[in-house]
Symmetry: C2
Subunit: 498 residues, 2 copies
């Protein structure tokens, strides 16, 4: 085969792969949103079959040889080399694990998920502990097949955020803890902000009307995007011009659906604005969890929680809910949506306290894999840390160690990216401000101006570059946690008049 023939063969393979990925994506999305539960088992069996076909397609010897050759051939276009490199790495990670091991892990993860559901319902960690123990052991074993010299947890961290390891995360979280814990204590000690009006009765149908207006403001075009409802909001993408977001409406909380929608729209925009080189292939599948989260957090917190954002939007919200908001000024509203207050539940945490929820999980995961902790009595470790770091008393496992689903399916190393993403955003914002007047764009209903900046400096690259490379390209310097912490300190000192 000539090089051109090889490239042609690779492109045909990549197209075939994208067909399976598209179909599985739509079926999964349908399942998560509207599909009747009665058909779950039928569909799941067939999803498993098609996933198997995709797996075979992606791991057969002739295609692996092709990846191997093309990824290192300097006569090959950079985009194709990068694609081959990522496909090859992915295949290798999967192939080293013996198939029966892989299958038995899937089975264990299913059981573990069931046990987590039950344990959470009964708020009893002891029902989940035996499964968590097995999951940790199984995960260790699976990573050991890679025969790499790096520490196992480092490998896990690197899987979700290429380039990261414990050394870097330790430095990151130490800074976060050292600067935020005292800041939160100061905030706690001062006069609290009134935000009760956000939690009155807000008719869901009316919330949906506002959401339509908000999506227009966000230039979330229904030509390439669609919003649906789910129990847990998420974003998924079929291709550049087909991105779906979901949200959840609460009757007694007017900001929950709003900020979750703004958040998901940030994820959606990242995928919508990738370059055509990335569409329909591995380059559009998220460079890293942290980078993806940085784009959702940026829109949610750094844009969505500013007065400039709400100058146009708040009057519309007031008009729809005069009974609750007619006497609340824009400034009062802005203060209320920015309240910083330690709580028990990560998914409900505010911008200020959120990273500490993650810090606690990071420390526990690290301990589990490095031998400092075992799964036994891990709920007590959890509760102790929540008291120490956030100053809250955990009343039970349900609101404590059992609150998140991630560990039940063995997703260790994922949590830290949530905090990292928020921190990345601060540095991106600092760079953006050098080029454009963010407040002016927001006030003048010119959201696209900001999105264009993100496209040019971040989104278009997809997975062409590593997170570190993108950070350097977009901001001109390596990631610096202090930009994030300075931002939080300034924002909350001002808000609480410290």
């Amino acid at each position: 085969m000539t090089l051109d023939e090889k490239i042609q063969k690779f492109k045909e393979w990549q197209f075939a792969r994208s067909a399976y990925v598209m179909a599985l994506g739509v079926v999964e999305l349908d399942k998560m949103t509207i599909a009747p539960r009665g058909g779950d088992a039928y569909r799941d069996e067939r999803i498993a079959y098609l996933s198997g076909e995709l797996y075979s397609l992606s791991t057969k010897k002739e295609i692996l040889d092709l990846f191997k050759e093309l990824k290192d051939d300097e006569h090959v276009d950079f985009v194709i080399r990068r694609q081959c490199q990522l496909y090859y790495e992915e295949a290798m990670k999967n192939l080293v694990v013996p198939k029966e091991e892989f299958v038995s892990y899937q089975k264990l993860a299913n059981e573990s998920y069931g046990a987590w559901i039950q344990a959470k319902e009964k708020s009893d960690y002891s029902l989940f502990e035996p499964y968590l123990k097995q999951i940790v052991e199984a995960k260790k074993k699976m990573y050991s097949y890679r025969r790499k010299k790096e520490n196992l947890y480092d490998q896990m961290l690197n899987d979700y955020e290429p380039g990261m390891n414990q050394e870097k995360y330790d430095a990151f979280f130490t800074a976060v803890r050292d600067r935020l814990v005292p800041l939160i204590q100061k905030v706690q000690a001062t006069k609290q902000i009134e935000d009760g009006f956000l939690y009155k009765h807000y008719d869901v149908e009316k919330q949906k009307r506002f959401m339509d207006e908000l999506l227009n403001y966000l230039h979330f075009d229904r030509e390439w995007g669609y919003q649906n409802e789910t129990e847990h909001p998420f974003t998924t993408w079929i291709c550049e011009n087909d991105v779906r977001i979901t949200t959840k409406y609460l009757e007694d909380n007017v900001i929950s659906a709003i900020f979750s929608t703004i958040h998901e729209s940030g994820h959606a925009r990242y995928e919508h604005q990738c370059s055509p080189d990335c569409d329909g292939n591995v380059l559009s599948e998220g460079i890293s969890s942290g980078m993806h989260e940085s784009q959702s957090r940026l829109v949610e917190n750094y844009l969505g929680r500013t007065k400039a954002f709400w100058v146009n939007n708040y009057p519309k919200l007031q008009e729809i809910f005069p009974e609750n908001l007619k006497d609340i000024t824009l400034d009062e509203f802005m203060d209320a949506v920015n309240v910083g207050k330690p709580g028990l539940v990560r998914t409900e945490a505010d911008e200020l306290t959120y990273p500490l929820h993650i810090y606690i999980r990071y420390e526990i995961e690290k301990g589990l894999f490095n031998g400092t902790y075992t799964t036994e009595n891990l709920n007590e470790v959890w509760n102790k840390m929540y008291k120490e770091i956030l100053g809250v008393d955990v009343p039970g496992d349900k609101e404590g160690i059992l609150q998140d689903v991630h560990w039940s399916s063995g997703d260790f190393g994922y949590f830290p990216t949530y905090a990292l993403g928020s921190a990345y955003s601060a540095q991106f914002m600092e760079a953006m401000r050098k080029d454009i007047n963010v407040e002016k764009e927001l006030e003048e209903n010119h959201f696209e101006g900001i999105m264009d900046w993100l496209k040019e400096h971040i989104h278009q690259y997809g997975c062409l570059y590593t997170p570190e490379e993108v950070m350097l390209k977009a901001t001109g310097k390596p990631f610096d946690v202090n930009i994030y912490l300075d931002y939080l300190e300034e924002k909350y000192s001002k808000l609480y008049r410290l």
Copy 2:
């Protein structure tokens, strides 16, 4: 291979096939309902690829040999023999057409569809005529590859309704025309029923509220069914326990969405109640268009348009729309939803005049394939027949020959099944009434009683038997058009006091 091994191989193949069918079904459904238009091209290219994979899977030599062997082996279970027979027939129909011919036909059909859209917009048949001409010729050529001795149009009719041909349809439609045309003329000549109140302003959100109640009454369980909105209502099924229906709401018509929902729920029920033998394979893919339509029409007209059905439902509708309905009695409502009045558009036609819309299309299709008509000036033939049969003047091609999409994609032989289905229903109802008290079941909110009868006598069989065999099993006699015509004559004579 032993027989058991062959059967095992067949089952594995059938499972693989069902995975592709499931995925393509969900992707298609998503496209028809909520998917952003921007992603259409991307998804379509990949749908085409996966359809190609499915085609290859279903036509490779070793699997054809397997079908051929198993379908005629008397040691094989009847269900498997029937499955193999149907798969084999399907594959043969496809395989006889040369691939390039097949591809160029797809292209022509796409262009023809585009031309139809344009021509309809401009209400100008001459823009569509050249395409229709090519479509007819292409269709003739494709059928000629089958090298069967039967007349081409007979083969088309048989494809949609196994067992039917022109001889039988001629007898059917002659009876329909001879008895309904005079009946309609009599109805026209007498005092008309007041139904204007059905076409006032009806808030769509409120209509949706009623629809929820109606779906409950129909025992349309959200555990196995889901309703969505589309421009053109349809039903699709993923499996026995995952059946989707769609509807369309009109602001100035309260019965459009209601009866379309009742209609689609009949299709849905047919698929939901098939036997497990049929689930996930060719046996659940609709025994014939006519049988499927008989199940939707039965629920829509023979149940949904009766007073017993509305005894419980009308008060709810009145409660939601007091401004329009509080002074309208149940009897007045019943008369209004049963009005029989000739019109121009098939999809808006009532129970009485509907079959004559089909008769006209049948006559035209027959003429096109047997040489009586050509596509030239076919709109004039259309208009003349509408005047003759239904007594209406067609103002333009848009409301005339261009109203339906079917011919643009070459679906000849399909229309007649719409009328046949309605007629089948009458005979099923007659049989059902011998076993259960239909009115009592409806009045006492026991819709499942009727559905159970349909399951036992019709639905469970899926495609195990031909339409003729099912008719015989369910009603004890061959299909008799007069049962249908007697029913219409009696119903409309009474309604219009003839």
